[in-house]
């Protein structure tokens, strides 16, 4: 969290945030399933100013063969930020931050994929951030989940993620870039919505135990809204195919 400019007010007198949202309001989310022809499953998400493409390849045989796991599938997630996705040009390639995000997102997704049904296989998940504006790991995980369902991979749930945090002393949902940079705390949360299992929980900044509980509850509420959008996106793509079956 960097130093806040003196005159910057993140929440105004009416309780509105810098982009005009209420504290418990999400940024507009748009999800499209299956934009990529070559991938086995794909998804494009626009979450506020975030623009992210997720692609899933596989399941396919693990190569080299000595890396195969005889009892379960290996999930490889790769989170990558395009060099043009941030204001200042980012040096391309994996860095400390994107390696960490690849790991936590991959582990969250592995938890809901029925990996034991696909022994000796690999599932590759690529998350490409084209435009970043805070909360990319949440949006990336949400998109990757839709791409996995689009690829027809057996899974226990469609995971979904959303962040909450603290800005100008108030707990708010889904931080935008200014709030992330000059706020007090940012907490991304990923859940499996059916059983409300927590798949990912990270935090940057400081929260009191009461604020933490409040933020977690708020993030889970946000997740449930996005979860509905995920399902709508999948239904929109496949409802035509059911028409075919009814013929």
């Amino acid at each position: 969290m960097s130093k806040k400019p003196e005159d910057l007010k993140l929440i105004d007198e009416n309780g509105r945030r810098i982009d005009g949202r209420k504290p418990d309001e999400l940024r507009p989310v748009k999800i499209k399933a299956g934009p990529l022809y070559r991938a086995d499953g794909s998804c494009y998400i626009e979450w506020g100013n975030n623009k992210i493409l997720a692609a899933v390849y596989g399941p396919k045989e693990t190569l080299p063969r000595h890396e195969q796991h005889p009892l379960k599938a290996i999930v490889n997630a790769r989170y990558n930020m395009a060099s043009f996705s941030v204001e200042e040009r980012k040096r391309p390639g994996p860095d400390r931050r994107s390696i960490e995000i690849s790991k936590v997102v991959g582990e969250a997704l592995e938890h809901i994929i029925l990996v034991e049904k696909l022994p000796r296989a690999t599932i590759d998940i690529n998350i490409e951030v084209l435009d970043a504006d805070a909360g990319t790991r949440c949006a990336g995980l949400t998109a990757a989940a839709v791409a996995l369902a689009d690829a027809g991979i057996p899974m226990r749930d469609i995971p979904v993620a959303c962040s909450a945090g603290k800005v100008d002393g108030q707990v708010v949902l889904d931080l935008c870039k200014e709030e992330d940079n000059y706020g007090e705390a940012d907490m991304p949360v990923a859940i499996a919505p059916r059983k409300k299992e927590i798949l990912l929980l990270q935090m940057d900044g400081h929260l009191t135990p009461q604020e933490f509980d409040e933020a977690l509850e708020l993030a889970i509420k946000g997740c449930e809204i996005v979860s509905k959008l995920q399902k709508e996106a999948l239904l929109e793509k496949y409802i035509k195919e059911v028409g075919r079956e009814n013929e």
Binding site: G152, R156, I158
Partner: protein, 224 residues
């Protein structure tokens, strides 16, 4: 794909609740948790004789015993060939399963890397131990022609009801065609004919869900 009988058709998403284990049995494409049946993948719900199954709409080819598939040899071993059949794992073709007398170590004389075969799935118990065979009528190594790849889930549409679509393709193009269950189609004939077939297949792929598809494919075949 099941096409017979009275079954309900409904699109389901992974983790969608489908029923109770007290009333139904969990079949393919579902999983059970705390006595409830959920869909494990995106597909179409089938309930038949109290068994709930989900027919997938997307995903790799799932080998079933008896399916005729078009495979590509990707590895030549001493006593076995590994064949890519568009499934998750390559299939095994043992030297006992070919119509020729092959001595151990002499395998590459008969089938080599990149060779295409029309084979039949012999057994598909575990997904990573699929056996295929060439020992049956009409199965052979393929020479010449063109391979066209589509999605395995679109194959029933390409064949059509009572093979109507595939018969039409054959009649109007004068080509020889094999449709593998794994979504690979082999065609041989005049270059124009093959081009026509490819265009027709892309049309079927794109408009698989629409009504009057056969008529439009016929129009495409006749119009040129």
């Amino acid at each position: 794909m099941q096409r017979k009988g009275k079954v309900t058709r409904e699109l389901v998403l992974p983790s969608q609740l489908l029923g109770d284990t007290k009333k139904y049995k969990a079949g393919v494409g579902t999983f059970v948790e705390d006595g409830k049946i959920y869909a494990e993948r995106l597909g179409i719900l089938n309930i038949k004789d109290n068994v709930i199954t989900v027919t997938p709409l997307r995903g790799k080819y799932e080998p079933k015993a008896g399916d005729v598939v078009v495979g590509i040899v990707i590895e030549v071993g001493a006593a076995v060939w590994m064949v890519d059949i568009n499934a998750i794992y390559p299939a095994f073709l043992h030297i006992n399963e070919v119509p020729w007398f092959v001595e151990v170590g002499n395998t590459s004389k008969f089938l080599n890397y990149g060779d295409v075969i029309l084979a039949k799935v012999k057994s598909a118990g575990e997904p990573d131990k699929v056996q295929i065979t060439l020992k049956d009528r009409g199965l052979h190594k393929i020479n010449g022609g063109t391979l066209i790849e589509t999605e395995p889930t679109k194959v029933p549409r390409i064949i059509g009801k009572n093979a109507s679509m595939i018969t039409a393709l054959k009649r109007y193009t004068n080509c020889r065609i094999f449709v593998g269950r794994n979504g690979r189609i082999w065609a041989d004939g005049t270059p124009e004919g093959i081009q026509k077939i490819e265009r027709a297949i892309r049309l079927i792929e794109r408009e698989a869900h629409t009504y009057g598809l056969t008529e439009r494919v016929l129009a495409l075949l006749k119009g040129e």
